[in-house]
Symmetry: D2
Subunit: 112 residues, 4 copies
């Protein structure tokens, strides 16, 4: 499965099956899923600590970033499952809001 | 665009276009994208604070959770773009590792 | 050294000496100290994950919480050193603001 | 109250009084205090986002950093109160561990 041919719903289904096979739905409250996602997000930050933003990641760190990002996405998909939210819709809605908030004329080349 | 018919690549493309239209690639270092994702992850946690995990979200809080989760996903897609990582592949790899780490026989109904 | 007889300045001095003995001041930019603090804050959250808020911590988890909280405080003291901020003053200022924001009459027994 | 003459116990007492005056002990479970601390830690990171680590903070951002750091410390003191942990002891214990883990000879001038 690769990004070009995988739908968000297919990924959600994989995560749902993993959780269901372990009967983990009762632990996976929206509150704890949000917390777990935020813990994984911090682990994603760790390989970048104490380094200049322009430093190239080592192969090892790149793999660890891929794995931590996967964990973030997995909890995000699981939270969407638990709350029955459509992620593509939420992403598109947010991008539309951000487009209105950061007009290209005013923000081209300027950090928000 | 809804999850059942939207590929991860299509979402990535939308995010890439948003960033490119603002020339934000130079700010969007992998380090700062990881930090931004983690800041949004904390905002996602906020509506759950001081409440029992079983408390139902209000309609307002549900909308705010959807928006913060969208922000997390957007930065995740942007980080995948910046590092040229395939997210579906990373998610599937991680689920396979977790399946080996948490065998259903041993972990059914038991938190990890 | 115990809380009843240790000043904040004494703790700051200990942390400063630790950092100075390793010549780490150049890595310890305010930005990276803030990020490090937030990474440790997430590790502090981890022992509470997937558990009811009323669950008593095991002796082991209590020790791990003490250690992660110490890490958070150490980075907080180091950030105060790097920015030359008085922490006691900042804490008192913030408590005064919060006292005004959450009057006891209105917020007694009600989460903020 | 300034760092040079304020003990950690005095700060803890102030925070305890603030919480008690509002009867907030029942919301302030160790789990939610840890989460609240981590949410504030992310707000502390926000003023540094999208900027080079060497960028000087504006007066405004410096004030906001002081306030967010105060929030982190306040929740840290409150968590120490809730768990009856001695913070000075925990900090000294951790520094001793770190001194053993990062000997000056090996780590002088090298990030951990």
């Amino acid at each position: 499965m690769v990004d070009s041919s995988t739908t968000v719903a297919e990924l959600r289904e994989r995560v749902r099956a993993f959780v269901h096979a372990r009967d983990w739905e009762s632990f996976h409250t929206p509150k704890d899923l949000a917390i777990a996602l935020s813990v994984e997000a911090s682990e994603l930050v760790e390989p970048f600590l104490w380094r200049d933003a322009s430093t190239r990641l080592s192969v090892e760190d790149r793999e660890s970033v891929a794995e931590e990002l996967a964990d973030v996405i997995i909890y995000g998909l699981s939270l969407a499952n638990a709350l029955d939210l459509d992620l593509s819709e939420a992403v598109l809605d947010k991008l539309r809001k951000d487009e209105a908030k950061y007009p290209t004329k005013q923000f081209r080349g300027r950090a928000p």
